[in-house]
């Protein structure tokens, strides 16, 4: 075990942690921006959107993130008209391809989380809102959404951790995220496992940090449900 090599190359891993965090946060943020309207629409079975959103969710939840990332990074380059369009500036860049693939993936999983939370909102909450004279729009944004998002918190925490772990796929399309740093270290010094082991420990540390963070958020926002731990 060459701990000295790992320690001497710490900037490599620091940069890796930064890239992993970037990709995870962007995926979760864009995913949420997709999931909030999409989840609401699915919960209400919006006539036109239902088949479109249903297909989106089924496709992205039913296939591996690795294959989705490959389709966007390697697949889109097949078409000349994409390569000659303005979008090529982004689509030739592995960072953007990873960000797009991860965002769409996280959006699909999060849509189902939001849909579930909205669908299980107690009817009484909306009846109370109507009785207080809130318009449908007001009762959606002031009552339904805040209530549903709070209850979605535990599952959302799992989704963030799932995305953190999924983001390791970025290293396969040449990005130097945490796992990419580990692979670089191994290749540079002909090591078998030191880089991977360091990567594993870093992912574990971030996972525990996220678990702790979400537990605090749950304690704060789910206290009224008596679920505080």
């Amino acid at each position: 075990m060459r701990v000295d090599l790992v320690l001497r190359n710490w900037p490599l891993f620091a940069e890796g942690v930064w890239i992993t965090l970037q990709l995870t946060l962007i995926a979760v943020a864009v995913g949420f921006a997709i999931a909030l309207p999409a989840g609401l629409a699915r919960a209400r079975r919006a006539p036109f959107w239902e088949p479109v959103l249903g297909a989106y969710v089924y496709l992205f939840r039913g296939t591996p993130l690795l294959a989705q990332t490959f389709l966007i990074y390697y697949g889109l380059a097949q078409f000349g008209w994409i390569r000659s369009s303005w979008a090529w500036t982004f689509l030739r860049d592995p960072w953007w391809c990873a960000a797009i693939a991860f965002s769409l993936n996280s959006g699909a999983y999060a849509t189902e989380i939001v849909r579930g939370a909205v669908a299980t909102t107690p009817k009484g909450e909306l009846e109370a809102a109507a009785a207080l004279g809130l318009s449908p729009r007001q009762s959606t944004w002031l009552v339904l959404v805040p209530s549903a998002l709070r209850r979605a918190l535990p599952q959302y925490g799992n989704e963030v951790i799932f995305m953190l772990h999924g983001s390791a796929v970025a290293s396969v399309i040449t990005l130097r995220d945490i796992l990419g740093a580990g692979r670089t270290l191994n290749a540079k010094f002909y090591l078998a496992y030191e880089g991977f082991l360091t990567a594993a420990l870093l992912y574990m540390a971030i996972t525990f940090l996220l678990v702790w963070l979400f537990r605090r958020l749950e304690n704060r926002y789910l206290r009224h449900l008596g679920a505080a731990r």
């Binding site: 089924y58 496709l59 039913g62 296939t63 591996p64 993130l65 690795l66 294959a67 989705q68 490959f70 389709l71 390697y74 697949g75 889109l76 380059a77 097949q78 078409f79 953190l164 772990h165 999924g166 983001s167 390791a168 796929v169 290293s171 396969v172 796992l179 580990g182 692979r183 191994n186 078998a192 496992y193 991977f196 082991l197 990567a199 594993a200 992912y203 574990m204 996972t207 525990f208």
Partner: protein
Amino acid sequence: MEHLLTYLPLLARGWLVTVALAVVSLLLATLLGALGAAGRASRAPLARGAVLVYSTIIRGVPDLVLVLLIYFGGQRFLNTILGALGAPTVDLSPFVAGVIAIGFIYGAYLTETFRGAFLAVPRAQIEAASALGLRRWPLFRHVLLPQIIRAALPGYGNTWQVLVKSTAVVSVIGLRDLVGFASDAGKTTREPFIFFSAVLAGYLLITWGSTRILAILERRAERGYAHAR
């Protein structure tokens, strides 16, 4: 498109490798999950502690990292031990490394599924069975197991669906599965988009087929129970 037809037999072979990897990994995961659940239920603090460490570590590390760690690090580790014993060295194949990694990961998840299912059986039934003179094995086989299967099936099905998608990362260590063959074919024909689309279709086929089979199994496990709906 005609390229796709030419390569279809190759893709079908890759698809079968993917299915085989998933099924063998599931068998290992089921075994580990059963052992883990038995460990959690045991009165020995050492067994409980070992299972807790196992599932905590596994849940903190991405599947891709574990696959690489086992393939490269495991090989070194194994051969160091074999070398010290004077035995000849062995090569870990990507398939075997994949089965070990995926099996270990989902064994940790199944531990929780099986534990929950075991706890769902009313304790009084165990007391009643032993009062009737059933020994340990008949009690497990005829009283506990049928009810554990019924309670565990939905969670087991979910784990399987996630496991199938997880197998895609084994292509990174060179396994010629669906993703591996499609990557090669996409490079050779310069039509990566078509071939990665075929990969997504191949996984959707597994997901869709599993949903159908699981529905049948769940109906079977539910027979003999009255339903409100």
